[in-house]
């Protein structure tokens, strides 16, 4: 089960990068970047996963000593999601400007910067 989750994480990162390589639409490119990032969420959560453990919130229903999943990677994932939201929004805003200035969002047709 865990091996499967690690496989999914690696797959998401690689397919995201592959999507950027093969992309014919800049919106698709930006979404592929966030798919690659989703791979890192799955990886981090899998690292902290324990079979039979509960969420790391101690209280009346979860007394001290109950096995819980690792809260550190969950905090890292949350941070990562915030980063993702910022970067995706910024990149999409740039795509809108590319569409306005170049009249296209096909990366093959953007030829102003080269060499």
């Amino acid at each position: 089960m865990t091996v499967f989750a690690y496989g999914v994480a690696a797959w998401l990162v690689l397919i995201g990068i592959f999507g950027v390589v093969r992309s014919h639409n800049l919106i698709h490119t930006v979404i592929c970047v966030s798919i690659a990032q989703s791979g890192t969420y799955v990886l981090l959560l899998t690292i902290g996963y324990q079979r039979g453990a509960v969420a790391p919130i101690f209280g009346s229903s979860t007394p001290k000593g109950t096995p819980v999943v690792d809260p550190v990677v969950q905090a890292m994932t949350l941070t990562d999601i915030v980063v993702s939201a910022t970067v995706t929004a910024l990149l999409l805003a740039l795509v809108i400007q590319v569409a306005k200035r170049h009249g296209t969002i096909e990366p093959d047709e953007l030829r102003t910067l080269r060499g």
Binding site: G16, V20, T29, V33, Q37, V73, T79, T112, G115
Partner: protein, 603 residues
């Protein structure tokens, strides 16, 4: 003043002050007069300069360690996020503050139509970089990496009315984000193996554990992330685009510190965490190959540009290659050489970018051929450009010459020395060629038909700044003068070289770092390497300068002989075609580079 502020608060303040300044500017900037906005921004960087100097004094030969919220690891408690400021990190923080100050000074009263966004972004950008150099936590390095990244993408694409600008910003954003996610995957794998994120804790955990394929994979992924920022070949494609389109004062920060911070990241993570785990021979080989390829490709691409900002950007790539060669020596002398060189290069390259910014604001073009002889009346700027170009080639007594000499000594190989002289001569010569052609009208008059459709000329760039006044504003001149003086100071200032030598000895002292961070124990300081001008260093610097003049003259007057034209044309145009401007191609190169790095470390 150091008595009023607890020493432990200094690293935190260095990060918090620019963030606070940016927040204030974003909140009330639109209601304030422009002068006040600029004044606040420059004052914020001035506060940071003072804080960095205080921290430099407090670090001595050790580290200032700050555990956030007092959460220090002790028995039954392993969490805690740490800032570990040593002299290398503090020196970089000082450099960041000085360069941000110069960038803001240069753009004084400009960009004022946009609610202080520009000033706030520069401050956030410098906060991200400062955090990156002061933190002692691997995940925090990633977070600060992303903070400087996000601010950097926005700054690169700042001139949104320009087609190139938004495209360059987008390429920069996509490539650096992918690098960052590979890096985060590596951090995750390392956490899975050790259960630690702090650099000192990771060091302890790994030294007991040793090497295995997972640790190696983590190291490759983390290094990939930092090397994308460092723009080592083949991760370098975004850099020229981002530099070509970003406002010139922003290029000072991009070229001077942001890209070199990638090299810092690799060196820091290697020396604190992976030293003794990754074999020395493998690390040496990987850095050597990356450094040589980066330096050579950057120099060739630099020489064959006519867009002045792209030319300077490729020269930055070439010099990043030389930084990597300094790291490849894997000793304190190499680190000291890289540190001195980094500081000297930042000052000199910053001055060159600002002078280019002046050209752009006057003539609305950064095309070397198009500007032929047009800036003749700006003799002083021309002389400054010539001086900075010679300093780039390593003219003594500039800090670049001192740093290069030390890297050559650390490398200890005549071949590497020859490469470093050649790279210095080619990049310095290219910059000198620009200066002589544009400011002094030397060389053959370019044919009107040389505007090849395939090349980027930089003819129709939008000026960064408002239409020129009759006289160059004093704030712009001041920024350029500060940078040139800084370049001289890094080579001449008594005590600077000695201090860098001691900082480098501390930097490579893995046990000292861990002991100081985890148990506040101060181990005896290491013997610093000899950091001073040597006769061979001075002679090599003069040789590189002379060769640079030769390269410039050849570029101005020489013709490529007919028999040589065909054999060099095809590889050159192939090389230029590789830089296709297509973000997908660049992403493919990123994966290939990561695989190549793994191969270099395993073989």
């Amino acid at each position: 003043m150091a008595g009023i502020i607890a020493v432990q608060a200094l690293p935190t303040l260095l990060i918090a002050v620019p963030v606070a300044g940016a927040s204030v500017l974003l909140a009330v900037g639109r209601f304030l007069p422009h002068r006040l906005v600029d004044g606040l921004a420059v004052a914020t960087t001035a506060v940071n300069i003072v804080l960095a100097v205080l921290l430099w004094q407090a670090t001595g030969n050790g580290q200032v360690v700050t555990w956030a919220g007092g959460w220090q690891p002790r028995p039954h408690l392993v969490v805690g996020i740490v800032l570990v400021a040593d002299r290398t990190g503090t020196g970089l923080a000082l450099l960041i503050a000085v360069l941000a100050g110069c960038a803001l000074l240069f753009s004084w009263r400009y960009f004022n139509s946009v609610h202080a966004h520009y000033q706030a972004l520069v401050l956030l950008f410098s906060a991200g970089m400062t955090g990156f150099v002061l933190t002692g936590d691997l995940f925090d390095m990633f977070v600060f990496f992303e903070l400087m990244g996000a601010a950097g993408y926005a700054l690169a694409g700042f001139k949104i009315e320009e087609a190139e600008s938004v495209q360059g910003g987008l390429t920069f954003g996509v490539l650096n984000s992918l690098g960052a996610y590979l890096c985060l995957s590596g951090i995750g794998l390392l956490y899975a193996r050790t259960g630690a994120l702090g650099l000192p804790q990771l060091s302890t955990a790994l030294s007991g554990h040793g090497m295995d394929p997972l640790v190696l994979a983590a190291f490759v992924l983390i290094c990939t992330g930092w090397l994308v920022k460092a723009a080592a070949v083949p991760f370098h494609f975004w850099l020229a685009d981002a530099h070509a389109v970003a406002p010139s004062p922003v290029c000072v920060l991009f070229s001077g510190v942001m890209a070199p911070l990638g090299v810092y990241g690799v060196a820091r993570v290697y020396w604190v965490v992976f030293h003794g785990v990754v074999p020395d021979a493998a690390m040496h080989r990987a850095m050597l190959v990356l450094g040589v390829v980066t330096a050579a490709l950057g120099a060739v691409m630099c020489l064959t540009q006519r867009h002045i900002k792209r030319l300077l950007a490729y020269s930055t790539i070439a010099h990043i290659g030389l930084f990597l060669l300094g790291i490849a020596a894997l000793n304190a002398l190499g680190v000291a050489g890289t540190s001195v060189y980094l500081a000297g290069h930042a000052a000199v390259k910053g001055a060159l970018f600002l002078l280019t910014g002046l050209l752009l604001s006057r003539y609305g073009s950064v095309d070397e051929l198009g500007l032929y002889g047009r800036a003749r009346q700006h003799r002083v700027a021309g002389c400054a450009f010539v001086l900075a170009a010679l300093a780039l080639a390593g003219l003594p007594p500039f800090g670049t010459g001192l740093g290069k000499g030390l890297i050559d000594d650390a490398g200890g190989s005549p071949l590497l020395t020859a490469l470093s002289v050649a790279v210095s001569a080619l990049t310095g010569g290219a910059a000198l060629r620009v200066a002589l052609r544009v400011y002094f009208g030397l060389g053959r008059r370019p044919h009107p038909d040389t505007t090849a459709a395939e090349e980027i000329t930089g003819q129709d760039e939008q000026p960064d700044l408002r239409p020129p006044h009759d006289r160059t504003p004093i704030s712009m001149i001041a920024a350029i003068a500060i940078l040139l003086a800084g370049g001289l100071a890094t080579g001449l200032a008594p005590g600077f070289a000695t201090a860098i030598g001691r900082a480098a000895a501390t930097f490579v002292d893995q046990h000292g770092y861990v002991a100081r961070a985890l148990s506040a124990e101060r181990l005896p300081s290491q013997v610093p390497p000899p950091v001073a001008w040597t006769t061979s260093g001075v002679l090599l610097g003069l040789l590189a300068t002379a060769l640079a003049i030769g390269v410039a003259v050849a570029g101005l007057y020489g013709r490529v002989p007919g028999w040589l034209r065909a054999p060099i044309k095809r590889p050159l145009s192939g090389l230029h075609e590789l830089h296709s401007g297509h973000v997908g191609d660049y992403a493919a190169w990123l994966v290939l580079g990561s695989a190549a790095l793994a191969g270099l470390l395993i073989v």
